[in-house]
């Protein structure tokens, strides 16, 4: 009986994530100034949590659409600072946040980081970058630094609250300079530095209303857009002149 129970334990201790978010779409409207998203969830189990394994840890990542980018370095050329060397990075997310229950190197193994692509460094694809410049690594570090300073890349270690090994929640702030697209939210459960369960969600980020209209017009009908801009400017200029004459007389 005891043996049977012991054998059945790993299967019975199956833990899965049940996740939710405060919103699954973000609308960029005229008054958009960033947004805060609450990501929460619970760990569902068929049996009490095992006792002979490491503590439960949670990692939540939010990833914006990836694009190729050029990283440029300024050098001093004949006395002035100009963009000189540059490397092309094949793919870098426009936004990336990692929230965890503890320090990343304590709760996540290198193998699983490689396999699931969890830290920001793993999300930047720069194949063949070393052919382009001598210190290619410097450029990748610079990319991380610049985007971190812009609030685009965030490491939020210890910012996931885990209650009673069951309920967890975290807040991720999306900055005002968001890129449109699908934002992938991933949730990982870990024990002994290994991922034991994961879950994915999507947040749609879109310009809405007037912002959508103006942006679409500029992209799809650039000539009409340019002419409309002119008419608006002309009306404003004429209106100002007319109003001023009215005031004076």
């Amino acid at each position: 009986m005891v043996v049977l129970l012991a054998l059945a334990l790993p299967a019975a201790a199956q833990e899965v994530i049940v996740a939710g978010m405060s919103q699954n779409r973000v609308s960029i409207t005229a008054d958009f100034d960033g947004s805060e998203i609450l990501i929460y969830g619970a760990v569902k189990r068929d049996a009490p949590p095992p006792e002979d394994v490491g503590a439960l840890e949670v990692i939540v990542t939010v990833e914006g659409p990836s694009t190729p980018v050029a990283v440029r370095r300024k050098d001093r050329v004949v006395g002035i600072w100009i963009n000189n060397a540059s490397v092309r990075v094949d793919s870098a997310p426009s936004f990336y946040a990692v929230a965890t229950t503890g320090p990343l190197d304590h709760i996540l193994s290198d193998v699983d980081n490689l396999r699931y692509g969890i830290t920001i460094e793993r999300m930047i694809r720069a194949i063949g970058i070393s052919d382009e410049a001598d210190q290619a690594g410097e450029f990748v570090l610079a990319l991380l630094r610049v985007r971190t300073n812009e609030g685009r890349y965030r490491v939020l270690e210890g910012k996931v609250e885990l209650t009673e090994d069951t309920l967890f929640r975290t807040d991720v702030v999306l900055p005002a300079n968001l890129t449109e697209g699908e934002y992938k939210v991933r949730l990982f459960l870990l024990r002994d530095k290994r991922v034991i369960a994961s879950q994915e969600r999507v947040i749609g980020v879109r310009k809405e209303g007037l912002e959508r209209f103006v942006f679409n017009l500029a992209q799809e009908q650039p000539l009409i857009y340019g002419l409309v801009s002119l008419v608006l400017a002309a009306l404003a200029g004429w209106g100002a002149s007319a109003a001023f004459r009215l005031i004076r007389t």
Binding site: V69, K74, I80
Partner: protein, 305 residues
């Protein structure tokens, strides 16, 4: 109140933009210039991408020049023939400018190119204007000093393709005005300015036009060149931000009305000295950015896949 700009893709404080427009409008009303050379660098400083700042600056200048030219029309201060000739050159210059702007953007050198243009042109014009206005201020103190002739015959008058410009009372070759127009059109496209600060001295000193038609004619040509530039940037690089332009214009028209009232109380020489100091300050401020080691040497820009 924060406002998200749809094209620049940054969130800015709407009152800050209105205020910027107002201050620049005040100065432009006071000095009789379009103010593009102030608007564009100020937009750089608050974080608007340079390409958007330049294209939107051009759009803002359209509004302020229309407002100005209407006032000049009433006092018959526009030489339409001269304006048309300058404009023909201006369109060609603007096409070349937009094309160069595109190439520089792809090379990643657009910021440098725009900054260098500002430093060189504003520096030169500012220094020349300062020297000239100080000299004329000194001359006006000495009552019996010789008066310089405003109309000097030079090599400009020996060129072919002569044309009559009735409102200006000139009979000169069309080559110099076409070239001047082209230079201004080019600068308008790469700097987001109207180019009045170059056009006005060029018309007075190179073409020998009478002062009463200079401002009106330069505004006339600037309306069309900046309109053309705005549309060209909108089509070529989708960098005109309508919302940003409207805010700048709204602030600008109010400021300009106040500036004009202050301007009429000051003497012409004093105004020109102040304007030249302003132009020099902007030039030095931008040069400073190029000469001092930046705190972050690296920059990140999106590229096409």
């Amino acid at each position: 109140m924060q406002l998200y700009l749809p094209i620049a893709e940054v969130s800015v404080n709407a009152f800050l933009i209105l205020g910027l427009g107002g201050i620049v409008g005040f100065l432009s009303g006071m000095f009789g210039v379009g103010g593009g050379f102030l608007i564009t660098p100020l937009l750089f400083f608050i974080g608007v991408p340079p390409a958007v700042a330049v294209a939107t600056g051009a759009n803002q200048v359209v509004a302020s020049s229309i407002s100005g030219v209407l006032a000049q029309l009433r006092r018959k201060g526009v030489d339409f023939t001269m304006g048309g000739v300058l404009l023909a050159g201006g369109v060609v210059g603007s096409i070349i400018g937009v094309w160069v702007f595109g190439i520089m953007t792809r090379l990643g050198q657009i910021d440098l190119f725009v900054q260098l243009s500002y430093v060189i042109f504003l520096g030169l014009i500012g220094a020349m204007m300062f020297q000239e206005s100080v000299r004329s201020l000194l001359r006006s103190r000495k009552a019996n000093a010789p008066i310089r002739r405003s109309h000097v015959h030079s090599w400009v008058h020996g060129l072919p393709f002569k044309m009559k410009f009735r409102a200006s009372g000139l009979y000169i070759s069309v080559i110099p005005p076409v070239l001047i127009g082209a230079a201004v059109g080019f600068l308008s496209a790469i700097m987001g300015v109207g180019g009045g600060f170059i056009l006005v001295p060029a018309m007075i000193y190179l073409l020998g036009m009478p002062t009463k038609v200079v401002i009106g004619t330069s505004l006339f040509q600037i309306i069309f060149v900046t309109s053309f530039t705005t549309v060209a940037h909108a089509v070529n690089s989708q960098t005109v931000d309508m919302m940003l332009a409207l805010l700048l214009i709204l602030g600008g028209v109010v400021g300009a009305q106040m500036g004009t009232r202050v301007g009429v109380r000051l003497k012409a020489e004093q105004l020109r000295i102040l304007l030249s100091l302003l132009v020099l300050t902007v030039s030095i401020r931008i040069a400073f950015d190029l000469l001092v080691r930046p705190s972050e040497l690296y920059s990140v820009a999106g590229v096409l896949p």
